[in-house]
C-alpha cells in the first residue's frame, strides 16, 4: 500500500490570463504543467511542484501563482501536517529522508537579536562617501617574530596570507552539486571582486584553473579530484572536516548528477552516488589533523595558507583551540543553518549549533588561550546580509563565507530540492538543458553586484560607528547589544543588553 501524500503547495492558474503558450510546461523539469488537448487548456499536477517559482517568473501573462496548500489533516500542534507526511513517506519507501539547503526550522536567529552601535556627539560618525573606509582584510596567521635586516628594517616573517578586498568569500559548493555555469559565475565574480571562491569537495574543472589565484580548493574525506596540480593552482587549501548542514557525516552527491564531466573532474565513475566517508580515514584525532595540514603544506612548499573547516558543534571552542595549534592558518566554522546540496533531513534539522554562538565561544576561547593570532576565523551558515557580516566581525570573525546568499543572487528561490538534480534555475543540476538557463555572463555580474552592495552597507555601518577600518571592528563586541536574549545567551555571546551603557 502506498499512501498518497498531498504536496505542500498548489499551482493556481488564472484562466482569464492564461494564453496556453505552454512556457510553464517547457520550463518545469518536475513536469508539473501539461496541456490538456481535449479540454484545450493547461493543467497542473500540484503534488509534484517544489515551488521553485520558475513558471511564475517566466509566465508571460503573470497567470500563475503558487500557494501553500490548505489541505490538512486534523489540526494537531504535536503531529503537524509535515510530520505526518514524513512518516507516511518513510513508511512508503523505507528510506532516509533527504533534503537540501539550510535548516528551515524556526530556531532562534541570534543575528536578529543583536543591535549595532552608532556614534553621537562624543565621537563623530565617519562619512564613507567622503572619507576612506577600509574593508580590506588579510587572512592567515599573524604570529610574528620581529626580525630585522642589516639596515634595521623589519623582515617579512609572516606566514602566507590571503588578501580580501571585502571580508566576504563564496563558500564551498562542489562542481557536481552545482553546475558548470554556477561555478564559472562564482569564479569570475571572485576574480573581479578581489576575493575567493571555494571549489568544494568535487575537484576543479580544467577550464577553471585560470581562476586559480582566486580559488580555494577543498580536500575532503572523499579526496575527490585531488592531485598535485589541483593543490598547486589554488590560492589556499581547505581541509573539510565537517559541514554545518550535516555535522558528523560526509558529502553526498546523488548519482543522477554525475555526468561525464563531473565524473572526470571528481575522478569517480559516472552515475553512481558519491558518498564521502563521515571521517577522514587518516584523521581520527587532532595529531592526525596536524599531519594532514603539514602534508599539504609540504606538497605546496609552505606557500599557501591551509584552512580547516568544521561544523559548529557543542564543543567547537575546544576543537578550534586544537586546530589553532595544528598548524592551520585559518579556521572556517559552518553553522547549523548552512546550506547543502543534499543531506539527511533529520541531521540537517537537528544537529549542530547556531554559528553566532559557536563564533562567540571560539573567539573568546582562542583569546583566553592567547592563540587568537595563530589563526583567522571565517564563519558561514548562514550569513544573509551585510548586517550579519558586520555583527559576525564585531563578535570576532575575520571574514564570512556566503553560499546560500550567492545562489540566491543567481536566481535560486530556495526551493530546497537541490538533491533531486532538477534545478529549474540551472544551478543545482547537471542536465544540459537546465544548466544553460544560467548565463554566467549575467550570473557573475549579479554576484559582483551583491557583494559590492554589501560592501557599501558594511562601510555605512562602520562609518556610523566611527570606525574606518574593518580591522578595528573585529572582535569589537562593545559595538553590539543584545535584545530579547537571556543572561546565558548574553554571556555566551559576550555582549551586553540593549540599554546597558558602556
Amino acid at each position: 500500500m502506498e499512501l498518497f501524500v498531498h504536496g505542500d503547495y498548489e499551482v493556481v492558474r488564472n484562466p482569464d490570463l492564461c494564453i496556453a503558450c505552454r512556457v510553464c510546461e517547457r520550463q518545469c523539469a518536475n513536469e508539473v504543467h501539461w496541456y490538456d488537448e481535449t479540454a484545450g487548456k493547461m493543467k497542473a499536477y500540484s503534488d509534484k511542484c517544489v515551488n521553485c517559482h520558475r513558471c511564475v517568473c517566466l509566465c508571460p501573462t503573470h497567470a500563475l501563482k503558487i500557494v501553500k496548500t490548505d489541505d490538512t489533516y486534523k489540526i494537531n500542534a504535536n503531529w503537524n501536517n509535515a510530520t505526518i507526511n514524513e512518516v507516511y513517506k518513510q513508511a512508503n519507501s523505507g528510506g532516509v529522508l533527504l533534503s537540501s539547503m539550510g535548516n528551515p526550522k524556526p530556531y532562534p536567529v541570534f543575528w536578529d537579536k543583536m543591535l549595532v552601535n552608532a556614534s553621537q556627539v562624543t565621537n563623530p560618525p565617519i562619512d564613507p562617501l567622503r572619507e576612506p573606509m577600509e574593508t580590506k582584510v588579510w587572512l592567515g596567521k599573524r604570529t610574528v617574530k620581529i626580525e630585522r635586516d642589516e639596515k634595521g628594517r623589519l623582515k617579512n616573517t609572516l606566514a602566507p596570507q590571503l588578501e580580501l578586498s571585502v571580508p566576504v568569500m563564496f563558500s564551498a559548493m562542489s562542481y557536481g552539486s552545482i553546475s558548470y555555469n554556477a561555478h564559472e559565475s562564482l569564479a569570475r565574480a571572485a576574480e573581479e571582486l578581489g576575493i575567493y571562491y571555494n571549489t568544494g569537495e568535487g575537484g576543479l574543472h580544467k577550464d577553471f584553473y585560470k581562476y586559480g589565484k582566486n580559488t580555494i580548493v577543498q580536500v575532503a574525506s572523499g579526496r575527490f579530484g585531488g592531485f598535485k596540480g589541483y593543490l598547486e593552482t589554488a590560492a589556499a587549501i581547505e581541509i573539510k572536516m565537517g559541514q554545518g548542514a550535516k555535522p558528523g557525516i560526509g558529502g553526498h552527491l546523488p548519482g543522477a548528477k554525475i555526468n561525464e564531466d563531473v565524473s572526470q573532474t571528481r575522478m569517480i565513475p559516472r552515475g553512481v552516488d558519491a558518498i564521502s566517508p563521515a571521517p577522514h580515514h587518516d584523521i581520527y584525532s587532532i595529531e592526525d589533523l596536524r599531519q594532514l595540514v603539514y602534508s599539504l603544506k609540504e606538497a605546496t612548499e609552505y606557500k599557501k595558507p591551509v584552512i580547516v573547516k568544521i561544523a559548529a558543534v557543542h564543543n567547537a571552542a575546544a576543537i578550534a583551540s586544537g586546530i589553532a595549534r595544528s598548524g592551520a592558518d585559518i579556521i572556517a566554522i559552518d553553522g547549523f543553518r548552512g546550506g547543502t546540496g543534499a543531506a539527511p533531513t533529520r541531521i540537517r534539522d537537528n544537529v549542530g549549533i547556531p554559528i553566532e554562538l559557536a563564533l562567540a565561544s571560539v573567539d573568546a576561547r582562542l583569546r583566553e588561550e592567547g592563540i587568537r593570532d595563530d589563526v583567522s576565523i571565517v564563519v558561514g551558515g548562514s550569513i544573509r546580509s551585510s548586517a550579519d557580516v558586520v555583527k559576525a566581525i564585531a563578535l570576532g570573525a575575520d571574514a564570512c563565507y556566503i553560499g546560500t546568499a550567492a545562489l540566491l543572487a543567481l536566481g535560486c528561490p530556495l526551493c530546497r530540492s537541490c538533491h533531486e538534480g532538477k534545478c529549474n534555475w540551472g544551478i543545482a543540476t547537471q542536465r544540459p538543458d537546465l544548466v544553460k538557463r544560467l548565463n554566467p555572463d549575467i550570473g557573475y555580474k549579479r554576484l559582483v553586484n551583491l557583494v559590492t552592495a554589501w560592501n557599501h552597507e558594511i562601510q555605512e555601518m562602520m562609518g556610523g560607528m566611527g570606525i574606518n577600518s574593518v580591522e578595528a571592528l573585529r572582535g569589537n563586541r562593545l559595538m553590539l547589544r543584545g535584545i530579547g536574549l537571556t543572561d546565558t545567551e548574553l554571556s555566551v555571546l559576550g555582549i551586553r543588553y540593549a540599554g546597558q551603557s558602556l
Partner: protein, 365 residues
C-alpha cells in the same frame, strides 16, 4: 563609590607638553599656565601632570607614587613592597590644601629597587617584574593604587581642574626636562583620583584627548598578552599597546605610529617602495592594534615626547619649537601662553608621529 573601571568612561580633554631638548630642567609652573589657558576643555573632574628628569638623586630607582584610601590599604601595600623591593626612601608626597581640591586620598612616594633574589627567582626581566608587582597591588590590594612607576619621572594627578591639581602638588617646586599635562572632561562622574590622567606604566606616560571607536577590539587583543584593562579607559589601552609594541616587540616609536595610526591602504600604495613594504608589513602584523576614532596623544618616555593624532585627525593638535624647546598642545593658545613667539608652529597631519627627543638621544632641533 563606583570606582573607575566598573564602567567604561569616555571623555573629552585638553593636553599639553613641553621638552627642553638640551636637557635643561624647568619647573612645572609652565605646564600649569599652559593647561590653565584651556580651562574650558576640562570640567573639573580630573587633571594631572607627568614630569621627566625630576628625581635626579634617585634616578636608578623606580619611583612609585601611590594613592591609599585607608591606613589598612597602606599597610598592605607597604608589606607587599617590602617583600619585593628594597625601598631606598619613602615619604608622603607634599601637597598644598586648596579649597577647590577635595576628598584627596593619602598620597605616598617610594623609591624602590627589586630585591635581587626575588627578581632572579622570578625569571623575569627587571621591568616585567616591576610591571607585574604594580599590577598585583592595583588589582589585589583594595584601596591602594600605584599611579606612577617609572625611573626619574613622576605622575601627579587628581580630581579637580588641572591647574588646581598642579598647585595642589606644588609642581612649581619640581624641575624636569620634559612635562606633559592633561585636563579631563569625562562624560561620567568618576570622582576617583586613580581615574585621572596621565596614565603611566614604567616610564611611559600617556595623555590623550578623544574617544576611540576601536576600544574593545584593541582591549580584547592586548589582554591576550597579560595586560588587564582594569580602568576601561582609552588612555590605559593605548599605554598598554605602546608598552607591548615597544618593550615586548621591540618596535621603534615611528613603527608604533604606523601600527596604531596606520596610513590608509590607498595612501600606503602611493609611498616609495621601502616605506610601502614596511608599513604594509606592520599593518598585516598588528591589525588589531589599529586605533580608530578621534584621539590626540602625547606619549612621554625617558628622553622624549611623541605627539600622535588619529589617522583622520579628528582632534586638534599643534606643535611648536623655540630654540631648544619643543611644545605640543591641543590648542595653539596653550603654547602661546608660555611661549608667545615660537620659531615655528605646525599642525601635524593625521597619523603623523612628531617625536622630540633630548639631543643626547639623537633628538634634533
Amino acid at each position: 563609590m563606583i570606582r573607575e573601571g566598573i564602567f567604561r568612561n569616555p571623555s573629552g580633554c585638553a593636553v599639553s607638553g613641553v621638552i627642553d631638548r638640551s636637557g635643561k630642567r624647568m619647573s612645572g609652573e609652565c605646564m600649569i599656565r599652559s593647561i590653565a589657558t584651556m580651562h574650558d576643555r576640562s570640567n573639573g573632574l580630573g587633571g594631572g601632570f607627568a614630569g621627566y628628569g625630576i628625581y635626579p638623586h634617585y634616578k636608578d630607582f623606580y619611583a612609585f607614587h601611590l594613592f591609599f584610601d585607608s591606613k589598612m590599604a597602606k599597610g598592605a601595600a607597604e608589606a607587599f613592597l617590602g617583600r619585593h623591593f628594597e625601598i631606598a626612601y619613602s615619604s608622603e608626597i607634599q601637597t598644598h590644601k586648596l579649597p577647590s581640591v577635595t576628598d584627596e586620598p593619602m598620597i605616598w612616594r617610594y623609591f624602590c629597587a627589586p630585591l635581587p633574589r626575588k627578581l632572579a627567582d622570578s625569571h623575569l626581566d627587571e621591568r616585567e617584574y616591576v610591571v607585574r608587582c604594580v599590577n598585583r597591588i592595583n588589582v589585589q590590594i583594595d584601596g591602594a593604587y600605584v599611579f606612577s612607576s617609572g625611573k626619574n619621572m613622576g605622575i601627579f594627578k587628581g580630581v579637580g581642574f588641572p591647574e588646581d591639581i598642579g598647585r595642589f602638588y606644588g609642581l612649581d617646586e619640581y624641575e624636569g626636562y620634559a612635562w606633559t599635562c592633561h585636563g579631563r572632561y569625562p562624560t561620567n562622574t568618576p570622582g576617583w583620583w586613580g581615574g585621572a590622567h596621565p596614565f603611566g606604566l614604567l616610564d611611559f606616560s600617556v595623555v590623550h584627548n578623544g574617544e576611540i571607536s576601536s576600544y574593545d577590539a584593541n582591549r580584547r587583543y592586548i589582554e591576550m598578552f597579560g595586560y588587564k584593562c582594569t580602568l576601561q579607559t582609552d588612555t590605559e589601552v593605548i599605554t598598554y599597546i605602546v608598552d607591548y609594541l615597544v618593550r615586548k616587540c621591540g618596535l621603534t616609536l615611528k613603527e608604533v605610529s604606523h601600527v596604531i595610526a596606520a596610513s590608509f591602504w590607498s595612501t600606503i600604495a602611493d609611498k616609495p617602495e621601502e616605506d610601502r613594504e614596511q608599513e604594509t608589513l606592520l599593518r598585516r602584523m598588528f591589525p588589531s592594534l589599529l586605533v580608530t576614532g578621534p584621539f590626540s596623544i602625547i606619549l612621554g618616555y625617558t628622553g622624549g615626547l611623541m605627539a600622535l593624532n588619529d589617522r583622520l585627525k579628528l582632534r586638534s593638535m599643534v606643535c611648536a619649537e623655540k630654540g631648544d624647546l619643543a611644545f605640543i598642545a591641543s590648542e595653539e593658545c596653550a603654547i602661546r601662553a608660555i611661549e608667545p613667539s615660537p620659531d615655528t608652529v605646525y599642525a601635524p597631519a593625521g597619523g603623523e608621529a612628531v617625536i622630540y627627543e633630548l639631543y643626547d638621544r639623537g633628538g634634533r632641533a
